[in-house]
């Protein structure tokens, strides 16, 4: 009995003494010894694995090009760029945790994860820690409506995804389009896209005859298509991701839903999976994209968009880049330019430099508004012609004329 008491009291005393120490200091100086360390928590596994890996490729290209040209110039010296990756398994809370872990190691400059949910979680932590993040793929305007000052998105906001296609259709389609219907996935990003698209359509005088929602990630959209069929829209616009995007075109053919103007979808058409999965049925489908190899603009690191495409292809066995890789490289480029402009790696100075950035790059213009989004950059609209997405809008980046009515292009 007494042994128990002594033991317990003894251990408690030792522990209380231990508890009186001060909190361990986070390791400092991640930017010493001639390297510039940037952290990136990405979805390398999990349901966003595919896009996470594409984003990583974009970051890798930036790292190798910058280092081949001697490294990042910082206040007179040049530093090699080192990007440290961690896997957030596509989970937002893990993304937040990893941001804190980077902060502990003194890594204050970060590249964004893939997807709006993970970016939102990471942005909250970045804001608390005073780090700086360049967002490559979180386009949802909701992230930037919270007053965050430390996160900057290089890509066009979500509201532009469908709105740009609506504008393109109104500008280029002949005969004119009168009615559209929307099929949207029910996640936050897609809903923002749909809202932006509907607003634009109504602003331009089109009638929206249908607005159907489907579960995110579903491969069966037959219910929504069957509901829309009797309303006979001229164009069906899909605010979706890859799975739903493929399903819409495939099942529309099965169900005999054939709008005279065809389909326009976000995210899916510019990816090679889309044309591979659908074969000939993909012909004529419109898509919106953040970037194509004909985007106007150039910079000293990557040259023009076409040069970037060649560099990417050389690094990855001839495979052409899609916009995921390009937007990732652009985010990395934004950080590099900001560090160079600020002449230091101090997060406060880098943040200031990012906020004041106004550059032309291979990705288009990089200029952030007060909320941190890049509204000066326009999205591009592509159409699948001959099994490949070609840019048809805006005029200064278009490679070919729009084939309209789109469904006839498949004949």
């Amino acid at each position: 009995m007494r042994t128990r008491m002594f033991l317990t009291v003894g251990v408690v005393a030792v522990l209380s003494a231990a508890a009186c120490g001060s909190k361990g200091e986070a390791g400092g100086g991640a930017a010493d010894n001639g390297t510039l360390v940037i952290g990136a928590s990405l979805s390398l596994t999990g349901k966003l694995a595919r896009e996470g890996i594409l984003t990583r490729e974009g970051y890798d290209v930036c790292q190798s090009v910058v280092n081949d040209k001697g490294g990042v110039p910082v206040a007179g010296s040049r530093r090699q760029l080192v990007i440290r990756y961690q896997d957030d398994t596509s989970q937002p809370d893990t993304a937040g945790q990893l941001v804190d872990q980077f902060n502990d190691k003194g890594v204050k400059l970060l590249l964004g994860p893939y997807g709006s949910a993970t970016t939102e979680a990471a942005a909250a932590v970045v804001e608390r820690n005073g780090q700086v993040m360049a967002d490559s793929s979180g386009a949802d305007d909701a992230i930037f409506a919270k007053g965050y000052r430390q996160t900057f998105a290089v890509l066009s906001p979500a509201t532009e995804y469908a709105a740009s296609m609506v504008q393109a259709i109104v500008d280029l389609a002949d005969p004119k389009v009168r009615t559209v219907a929307f099929i949207s996935a029910d996640d936050g990003f897609s809903k923002t896209v749909t809202r932006g698209g509907i607003a634009k359509a109504e602003q331009l005088g089109l009638t929206v005859v249908g607005e159907e929602y489907v579960p995110n990630g579903t491969t069966d959209v037959s219910g929504a298509l069957t509901k829309i069929k009797p309303r006979r829209p001229d164009v069906i616009i899909g605010s979706v991701h890859l799975a739903e995007g493929i399903a819409i075109v495939k099942q529309a053919k099965e169900l005999g839903v054939a709008p005279s103007g065809g389909f326009a979808e976000t995210v899916a058409p510019p990816t090679p999976d889309f044309t591979q999965a659908l074969g000939a049925t993909a012909e004529g489908v419109l898509g919106s994209t953040q970037w194509t190899p004909t985007t106007a603009g150039s910079d000293k690191w990557f040259g023009f968009a076409g040069d970037y495409a060649n560099t990417f292809a050389a690094k990855f066995n001839g495979r052409q880049p899609e916009y995921h890789g390009a937007e990732a490289t652009a985010a990395c480029l934004a950080l590099v330019l900001a560090v160079e402009k600020a002449g230091s790696t101090d997060p406060v100075k880098v943040r200031g430099a990012l906020a004041g950035l106004d550059e032309q790059t291979f990705f288009g213009p990089l200029k952030f508004d007060s909320s941190g989004q890049n509204r000066t950059k326009a999205m591009q609209v592509v159409q699948i012609q001959g099994g490949k997405p070609v840019c048809v809008w805006p005029a200064n980046a278009s490679e070919a004329a729009l084939r309209w009515p789109a469904t006839k292009a498949a004949a």
Binding site: T45, K47, A49, R50, I53, D186, E212, Y213, V214, P215, G217, T219, D220, V221, S222, G223, A224, T226, K227, K229, P230, R231, R232, L242, A243, I246, A247, K250, K253, E254, L255, G256, D273, Q276, A277, L278, G279, A280, T281
Partner: protein
């Protein structure tokens, strides 16, 4: 707008046809799952991964040799039979007598392994097998379409289920499977090798899953992320239809397909999955042995 007056009925008719066809495919996926659950009392959480295995195999065969996916059902079934047999014989048999969480965890671990292997081998991209005829549809009254690819898949599903029922009722091997499922001890006394029979059953279920996978690849889109969803739908279909009855699994699949389709028409599109789960919970609460299952399986004591 013109054409809207008949629209409601036509939409419902289209939904019914589509739902039935979809349901047959669910049923085929669920039949193997139900077989394993009924005979071995093992809930195979990796079933969805087997289905995907078949789909990827069919895709590769189509890519390399241009083989039609419905023809690839056979090689997919054979390969997955071998895989299933091996897994059961040398892995799952090790925990057959353990409490149910153990087998659930084992098959969950298998699912993690399988899905990640698929991601490593084939990347996480979405795929679909584009064949010339799967877009063609027969047109019925009221512009109701019957997609040819899905019709073929449904016919094959019914055929395979019939073949399985014939196998289990009329052949010695099938009877051995049923006997082992009812009373393993007694079956062993009748000189049935339980380990081999269990492995055979699991292999059979995997083969059916593989064949279903080839069909899924032909008519739909798939990626490794779908494994969980496919397993979940197998659960629901198997429970709805009831264990111990192969036609029951098909019936369960049909009910699930119809419920999803009608739900998609009558309710906002995003509630479709909620309806399926609600159906599951209701059936379990009222009639746990499902629509066609035997009470024997419902009352059987779990180990």
């Amino acid at each position: 707008m013109a054409g809207d007056e008949g629209g409601g009925v036509n939409q419902l008719a289209q939904a019914t046809v589509y739902g039935l066809l979809q349901g047959c495919l669910f049923g085929l996926v669920a039949v193997g799952f139900s077989l394993v659950w009924g005979v071995l009392n093992v809930v195979n959480l990796a079933h969805g991964a087997f289905v995907l295995g078949g789909a990827y195999l069919a895709w590769e065969l189509h890519d390399a040799f241009g083989l039609d996916p419905f023809v690839s059902m056979l090689p997919a079934a054979v390969v997955l039979f071998g895989l299933g047999y091996a897994i059961q014989r040398w892995l799952v048999n090790l925990v057959v007598n353990a409490p149910i969480f153990i087998t659930l965890l084992l098959t969950f671990g298998l699912q993690l392994l399988a899905v990640n292997t698929l991601i490593l081998l084939f990347t996480a991209n979405y795929r679909s097998i584009p064949t010339g005829y799967t877009g063609i549809s027969l047109v019925l009254a009221g512009d109701v379409r019957v997609p040819l690819g899905r019709l073929i898949a449904a016919a094959l599903a019914i055929g395979l289920t019939a073949a399985l029922v014939y196998l289990t009722r009329r052949t010695r091997t099938g009877l051995a499977i049923l006997a082992t499922g009812m009373d393993r001890g007694a079956a062993r006394l009748m000189s049935i090798k339980a380990a081999h029979v269990y492995a055979l059953t699991f292999g059979l279920a995997a083969a059916l899953a593989g064949a279903a996978g080839a069909a899924v690849g032909a008519v739909g889109t798939f990626s490794p992320a779908d494994a969980g969803r496919l397993t979940l739908f197998s659960f629901v279909a198997a429970v709805l239809g009831g264990l111990g009855n192969m036609w029951g699994a098909l019936l369960g699949g049909l009910v699930l397909g119809l419920v999803e389709s009608w739900g998609g028409q009558l309710l906002p599109g995003t509630l479709v999955n909620a309806v399926a789960f609600a159906a599951l919970v209701i059936v379990l609460a009222i009639r746990p042995q499902g629509l066609a299952g035997r009470a024997f399986y419902a009352s059987r004591l779990e180990a």
